[in-house]
């Protein structure tokens, strides 16, 4: 499926940025249920890629296939230059995986978990101790290193999980919903951790159902819906697919609402909420002229909020069909950017 957004020269001679993940037509079904219906991915090395989608969209299945846990029914993929089917151990040597459910050994301590990873990566004992101490310190786990991992809080377990993933210096890290179930503070800590990973040059493949998270972290985002990639691009590119910015005026008094609605023709009415929506890109210039217009029309709203299009709009537009009340002139489908279907 060609696309103007995805670089297509990766298999050419020059190879400026070798792909960390390159997949064509991955399919997987369980019985009658098609989970992945032919997805293509191209993730340049050293970038953060977010696979965004609701529960059941197939995110975890994609991660499981790319991390060699399960085999695809169709399609081909290379991870870190190794073919998934032909050289799974080559893939395994290059990746680190932190799944959705904590992959720590709860019965042993945090430090023992780390040493276990060091041993399995065949690090010499001294190196193993050094890496263990360093990562426990870096992930703020040094104080609890000698407690059994099952006594850790959710955030601590997740940090230990990622620390264990990092022991072998993986070049590509898969994070399957790394912040699901974390409290807001732990989530922000996790975001910080992920940002630091990238500065070290690794490629991060993360899945999330939080649009904000993809927006915060990812260089490129693919929206997965019903086993297909509904759109792919940067957060900015995806947002541009939906020209949905507006200013929302809310009134407490029905009479004021009615007279404002009469004065501001062209505004979208929400009679139940006593709110008016006026299209706007949210720029200072447009806001000033809008406010001037309100003044001259004698309209005084009780609340004014500026709504710029966010990934939620994109997400809903791509995944929820046509019921988008706020975007009356939504484009049919975003087919000049991304991999529209």
């Amino acid at each position: 499926m060609p696309s103007t957004v995805m670089p297509t020269s990766s298999r050419g001679g020059g190879r400026p940025a070798p792909a960390a993940v390159h997949a064509v037509g991955l399919r997987k079904s369980y019985g009658d249920k098609t989970v992945l219906d032919g997805i293509d991915l191209h993730i340049p090395a050293g970038t953060v890629f977010a696979l965004l989608g609701p529960n059941g969209a197939g995110k975890t299945t994609a991660v499981k296939i790319l991390s060699t846990l399960i085999t695809a029914d169709g399609g081909r993929a290379q991870v870190a230059g190794h073919d998934l089917a032909a050289a799974p151990d080559g893939v395994r040597a290059a990746i680190g995986v932190t799944g959705q459910f904590s992959a720590v050994d709860g019965l042993i301590t945090g430090e023992e978990n780390m040493r276990l990873m060091a041993d399995l990566h065949h690090l010499p004992a001294r190196e193993g101790r050094r890496v263990t101490a360093e990562l426990l310190e870096r992930f703020d786990l040094a104080d609890v290193a000698d407690r059994p991992a099952q006594s850790y809080s959710g955030g601590m377990k997740r940090r230990l999980d990622i620390a264990m993933t990092l022991v072998g210096d993986p070049r590509i890290i898969f994070l399957d919903e790394p912040t699901t179930g974390l409290d807001p503070r732990s989530r922000h800590t996790m975001w910080q951790i992920i940002r630091e990973l990238v500065t070290g040059g690794v490629t991060v493949f993360l899945t999330t159902q939080y649009l904000e998270e993809a927006d915060e972290l990812a260089d490129r985002i693919a929206v997965l819906h019903d086993g297909r990639i509904a759109a792919e691009g940067t957060a900015g590119e995806l947002k541009r697919l939906i020209p949905g910015g507006h200013v929302r005026l809310r009134f407490f008094d029905p009479a004021a609402y009615r007279s404002a609605a009469a004065a501001l023709r062209g505004a979208t009415r929400d009679d139940e909420e006593l709110a008016l929506q006026i299209p706007s890109d949210g720029s200072q210039r447009e806001l000033r002229s809008l406010l001037d217009w309100l003044d001259s029309a004698g309209v005084e709203a009780d609340e004014l909020t500026v709504h710029t299009p966010d990934l939620d709009d994109v997400f809903f537009a791509l995944t929820a069909g046509t019921d988008q009340p706020n975007q009356p002139n939504r484009p049919n489908r975003p087919n000049q950017k991304g991999t529209a279907r």
Partner: protein, 263 residues
């Protein structure tokens, strides 16, 4: 690194992990030892006088019955300990850490080999502990040579290995720890139906095949012969054949179950 040294290295890492579990949570192992010890005390001190009438020519006393029953109790100890292995394998398979192992470039079977090696060591330790209880209440081996002691230990280890592979397969095929405990129960029940407590000749005719055509009877008879000097006969080879067969079967079963794709 060659694949063999990789296998050895990863398996010993996994063994260390399992020993760590056993050391950190000894109650599971010790609980499993309670059954053989209680059965030993029950059969010797409560049923002993009656049971002893059933062995030999009817003139045996309680201490002779103690000697008779200890080899069976030791084999039962192994059966009980391997139930624990089935449970811990089933528990382990529900943990995310095993999923992590599957995404790492390590020797595939090392996860299982670690469990097996750990379980065999636990079995041997259990046999030594239960054996010490038996000695404490008066059990003595009779005229056992060094070679016979070595063979006895070898036999106990071989039985442990064979039953452990079966237990690992049972654990892998069970959906959860409770089911694994139930499914592995035959490992504890079979010795009860063997010549452990009464000679096969003393059993009703219709039941004898159950006792004769199962691994515990030849293994127990062989151990009796080594420790007490009774006739071993063809039981030695039978025991070795049973163990080798079960070990190979359990190994093939377990590795093919582990190679299945996780859901």
């Amino acid at each position: 690194m060659s694949s063999l040294s990789l296998a050895v290295r990863d398996s010993s890492t996994m063994l260390r992990r399992n020993l760590l579990h056993a050391r950190r949570y000894p109650s599971l192992t010790l609980n499993l030892l309670l059954t053989p010890v209680m059965l030993l005390l029950l059969f010797v001190y409560v049923f002993g006088d009656v049971m002893s009438a059933g062995i030999g020519d009817g003139t045996a006393d309680r201490s002779e019955y103690l000697a008779y029953v200890v080899p069976g109790i030791l084999m039962l100890t192994i059966g009980g300990t391997t139930i624990g292995s089935a449970v811990s394998v089933a528990m382990d398979m529900t943990e995310g850490i095993v999923t992590r192992f599957r995404t790492m470039a390590i020797h595939r079977a090392s996860v299982l080999v670690g469990h097996v090696a750990g379980s065999v060591l636990q079995c041997v330790a259990g046999v030594v502990l239960v054996g010490a209880v038996a000695v404490a209440i008066g059990f003595r081996a009779t005229d056992t040579t060094v070679l016979e002691w070595v063979l006895a230990f070898g036999l106990l280890t071989l039985v442990s290995l064979a039953l452990t592979w079966i237990a690992v397969g049972t654990g892998l095929s069970s959906p959860n720890a409770e089911a694994a405990g139930n499914n592995a129960l035959p490992l504890m029940v079979l010795p009860l139906l063997s010549s452990a407590f009464v000679p096969v000749e003393a059993m009703p005719g219709w039941f004898r095949p159950v006792a004769e055509y199962q691994p515990f009877t030849p293994a127990i008879e062989t151990l009796r012969g080594l420790l007490l000097g009774s006739e071993i006969g063809h039981n030695g080879w039978l025991a070795v054949a049973w163990c080798a067969g079960l070990a190979v079967l359990g190994y093939l079963w377990s590795t093919s179950l582990f190679a299945r794709e996780p859901k």
